[in-house]
Symmetry: C2
Subunit: 513 residues, 2 copies
Amino acid sequence: MNGAESLVKTLVAGGVDTCFANPGTSEMHFVAALDKVPGVRCVLCLFEGVATGAADGYARMADKPAATLLHLGPGLGNGLANLHNARRAHTPIVNIVGDHATYHLQYDSPLTSDVEGIARPMSAWVRTSRDARSVGADAAEAITVANSPKGQIATLILPANTAWSNGGVVSKVAPADAPKPVPEEVVREVAQALASGSAMLLLGNRALRSKPMALAAAIGAKTGCLVRVISRNPRIQRGAGRVALERIANPIEKSAELFRSVQTMILVDEDEPVAFFAHPGKVGKLTAPDSNILTLAMRGDDVVAALESLADLVGARVDEVPLEQFARPDIPTGELTLEKIGQALGALLPEHAIVCDESITSGRTFFPSTRGAPQHDWLQLTGGSIGIGMPMATGAAVACPDRKVINLQADGSGMYTLQALWTQAREQLNVLTVIWANRSYKILHNEFANVGAGKPGERASSMLDLDNPSIDWVSLAKGMGVEGRRVETMEQFAAAMKAGLAVKGPFLIEVTL
Amino acid sequence: MNGAESLVKTLVAGGVDTCFANPGTSEMHFVAALDKVPGVRCVLCLFEGVATGAADGYARMADKPAATLLHLGPGLGNGLANLHNARRAHTPIVNIVGDHATYHLQYDSPLTSDVEGIARPMSAWVRTSRDARSVGADAAEAITVANSPKGQIATLILPANTAWSNGGVVSKVAPADAPKPVPEEVVREVAQALASGSAMLLLGNRALRSKPMALAAAIGAKTGCLVRVISRNPRIQRGAGRVALERIANPIEKSAELFRSVQTMILVDEDEPVAFFAHPGKVGKLTAPDSNILTLAMRGDDVVAALESLADLVGARVDEVPLEQFARPDIPTGELTLEKIGQALGALLPEHAIVCDESITSGRTFFPSTRGAPQHDWLQLTGGSIGIGMPMATGAAVACPDRKVINLQADGSGMYTLQALWTQAREQLNVLTVIWANRSYKILHNEFANVGAGKPGERASSMLDLDNPSIDWVSLAKGMGVEGRRVETMEQFAAAMKAGLAVKGPFLIEVTL
């Protein structure tokens, strides 16, 4: 058995059965092993940022890592931006990055680069396998690292000769650590703080599933503390029959007054609220300087148990929390506006939909208007590196073939990783992409003023606008085998949404704003 | 004057008057400075790999660096693959990468990452400006580093507050070092080696302009040594009226016998010939183990002076070297074949064309059939990281607005950075893109066998083929504002070429293979 086969078998043994791949020469033995070893679905992506973003979307929904297959340093480089987002989403990923044969590196042939150096900024764990015999054990360790309750990115670099040489050993994958119990005294301290004045529970990451959100809501109802989530979370479970929490809208800086009004900020698998960017003359830390910041649960802690203990201590009862009522807005007609589109989304969102939201400025009305829709998951851009939406939708659709994925997509961001549409067509993935064609980096128009740069002149404006030429998304989709439709009225939007939802496979709607 | 303005003024003072930009919030003050300070043409790219590849193409033709403007670590990450190619082309580039305000980094807000760590693998020089006062001097140093005769990538990281704070100082840009003279004893040693038996002059990089190639050809004619170039060079000047050198075709390993037959290998701004990838059981170093490897000129050396000295020593006379005669093949008709397409290219290549060749497997016949065409430059993929062609063509067209750029483009490679077409449309760049639609990673089909992985099975094949769905490049081009045409016969190809050559602006031809 060669190293590549031991790798594929170890992946299968470790429950990693999906690989988003953009292979090259140095990965050919891994590709060959896919034929010999059953159990891994390999999804071809035409750009590495699609592969890494899809692995992120997959793991957010499957709650287990996918592998990526990338080609040396430059291939990994192309994947870094969405690995950055995955790192900020605490998503488990196992990157397999091919490299030259160990004995070939001395020649510094054209594709040689510092693969480990490129991997490190976005990886919690990086290893280059020494020989075929080590590959299985290295892969097993990578899987265990990724599966940590912290959700980590592990990058295994596979020199070509470690893949093709014999001597591969399939390795048993050690179970990841269990989530860490939160010490009782921490829970007690939080309970006391809740009793003593104005407080906020700020939930993130693993705390945004139904059960912990219900617990937090119960604690809020009992103690009078605020309960909030921030608008850059990997996955929120919501919809009718679930507990709805209020979301701090983007830009977060607009909620600075709310944060400053809180005496005790209690973090539940979330970081302290800070400004996304520094702006001249504005503070970065959004809480009051004298506020009390407590951490109930950190990344990797047992969030549910901590909230249960806290609920017990304060006497909060989950079964008394009101659940979101089923309520759909009417579908508005006439001219397209973002507010009306939000209502139409609330009216049409199918049960168990997975919303992959990279709407940036356009999407700020969509979250409130869908709260009473049937149960669904809402996935967002976590790390601020645009170009996640289409890949994330691709990965989510691979993870959940029976659910409809709706990718709410800003046009400027969409252009970074549009190659994802081809993979959606190839795999006939159930993704409905809705592009907000505002034909500008709208957020930069806002930020230009926010950072005190004044009003953009002609040359500056030309760096912020995408209207010359206008991007024709229906043609781009067609070019990659995805059916699309452009809409200019609410009636057309609603009709296109219904058509797209009815299709089993990818569909794209370009909304002219 | 704020730091951003001092930066733009320093760029202008240093002759860096073109910037390929994909800006974000942290770069807004630089964008604002563009309006206040005249002298920099800023070209918007919708993906950072387009910006870095365009900067590479620009500098190859302009013989001076462009700047890029990139957004924090992930933006730089997206640009790494083409920076890798630029590094291998010894292209001067000044990257300007925005970062958070220095005092904001402590908050680890979502877009925070290790920008320096991401920059280092592809940069000869990396610096983060400390304050507004330092920005001008840092930029000046970056320009000097880039302008080194070695051709280097300098990455200047610009924290937002160093851009927006006052106190900027425009800095004088020190001239770069002159190319280093090659010591006389080195030239004498090479001359002696040439006299003593079978030898090859292997030319690369700066040795591939008209004058050094003519000198090398004269030395070859006089001494009987072979003179060769390798098929991954940044820029070769060729065509009727110039000296033509024989090119070692890809894959280089096929020429191993030739290399091994040479007793003395003389490197002229080129590296020792090595296998691109290791293959099981094959050697990496292509010269014979007992061959004598001499370096006449290293990167940054005065190549022309060294060749002149050598020519003098051996008594070679440039004016006796036969020049390539003007000769165009006839345009073939009927079924499309790569050989016939090569002839048509030879028949139609306009004077002063810039050929940006990322044909990969499809293009192996094109170089010989164009040798008698009017004078032109031929630019290639240097670092093996695919996705350079369209960006490189974009940058070359910005550098040389009066010349026709012809991008010979493999389809699989083209998909990595297709966003370049939008910039071509926006700037109305004179680029004719010819896509070889073989609908596969053809080179991987070859490499699968070469690395000893046997014959690909069904699942492996699906990782190498791009035919499901077929990519429709005419629609992709239309989506980005570029007119296109699909051709299926030689007659259609010739007609489309003539149409594309007549257009002043971008045009795309999809050649169905």
